[in-house]
Symmetry: C2
């Protein structure tokens, strides 16, 4: 199965690497990192570079197309080459996938009109502007479009998708291979569970981060 | 806080990127990916290249040194430049950290003698050869040495470490930022919880993967 992961400067690394780590273990999977301009793409921290080895035109019809999120998604959402490629890839894909604010790039490509979809909790109100039906769930399937919540949700998404594609046993074997037996030290990973003071701190950090990167 | 993550060809990407994503959000953190030979380092799938921007000699004394695991760890464990650097970095580090089979590289550097430590469930029996005291826990602290279980455990490790360094509120804020509210689709992430047939499949895959990469 050919899997294309779209990179752009300012992506959030775990958005891409969580599902990569899972989906690359699907038997027969071939994962390619693509970009409008191939080369090193820098993560949002500017401390990590990933190699996007392939130009968009080289992989016009992946079976799975995946878009990670990150502060750079604002630029990706106005990159007409990326949006054109996404529209073309989606026309023939088996699954069209996003993690975190990658769904807003799918939205900018016009792919979420009337679609139930999710995103990072901090940007849920932006989804509706693209005609999507926002859903505060961790992994959302609507036809062949699969969207995940913030950053770390791509691991749950990847495993759920493998179960759909290859069955529960394959997904469970991958889960065991990556020892995904999560034991978060706190119950603070969602606005539903985080203490109010933590939610306020996280919101302030998001605003500051957006300013730093603008 | 200066954080150095050691890369080598054949590392497992999520081993490195899980804790990177968490620790890079520690206020004041500076993360650098280092390698014996700087340049693109290929993950174990050979489908993903990360840029190791810095030679070992350029960062002799990071405050946190972190070693990911992966099938390439067998080569890393006989790379005298990497082992020398690890011994030097450990001498002055605040925290010396591994994820997954990265602990076996720490062991090869002679850093685990008498130390309580963990690794991927599939390699637990190799730890004792380095004089370590194997512990089947997700995150293990022994003095300044912190070891994590397989692949995805680096996220739990990173959050636990931030709590020790900067307090629970900072760790909770990072957990919320990455929306780490895990909802694995199965209870198959540990040999304790996986069905026996899945454990046997995962063991067979590990043997095949080791042959493929040898």
């Amino acid at each position: 199965m050919n899997i294309a992961i779209l990179l752009y400067d300012g992506f959030t690394a775990l958005d891409a690497i969580g599902p990569y780590e899972v989906l690359s273990r699907l038997p027969g999977a071939s994962v390619t990192f693509v970009a409008s301009e191939p080369g090193i793409k820098w993560a949002d921290t500017r401390m990590l570079g990933l190699s996007a080895d392939c130009a968009l035109a080289q992989l016009p019809a992946p079976e799975i197309v995946l878009v990670p999120g990150g502060p750079g998604r604002a630029t990706a959402a106005v990159d007409e080459r990326a949006l054109d490629w996404l529209r073309g890839a989606h026309a023939t894909s088996v699954w069209t996938v996003s993690v975190c604010t990658g769904s807003l790039v799918l939205g900018a490509a016009g792919l979420l009109e009337g679609v139930r979809a999710t995103t990072h909790w901090g940007t849920m109100d932006e989804l509706a502007a693209y005609g999507a039906k926002p859903v505060a769930e961790r992994v959302v399937f609507d036809g062949k479009i699969v969207t995940g919540a913030g950053v770390s949700a791509g691991i749950d998404l990847g495993l759920t998708l493998i179960a759909r594609i290859a069955g529960d046993a394959v997904a469970q074997t991958v889960q065991l291979a990556i020892e995904y037996d999560p034991q978060p030290p706190f119950a603070a990973g969602s606005p539903r569970t985080a203490p109010p003071a933590i939610l306020e701190l996280a919101r302030a950090n998001r605003r500051r981060r957006a300013i730093d990167l603008s």
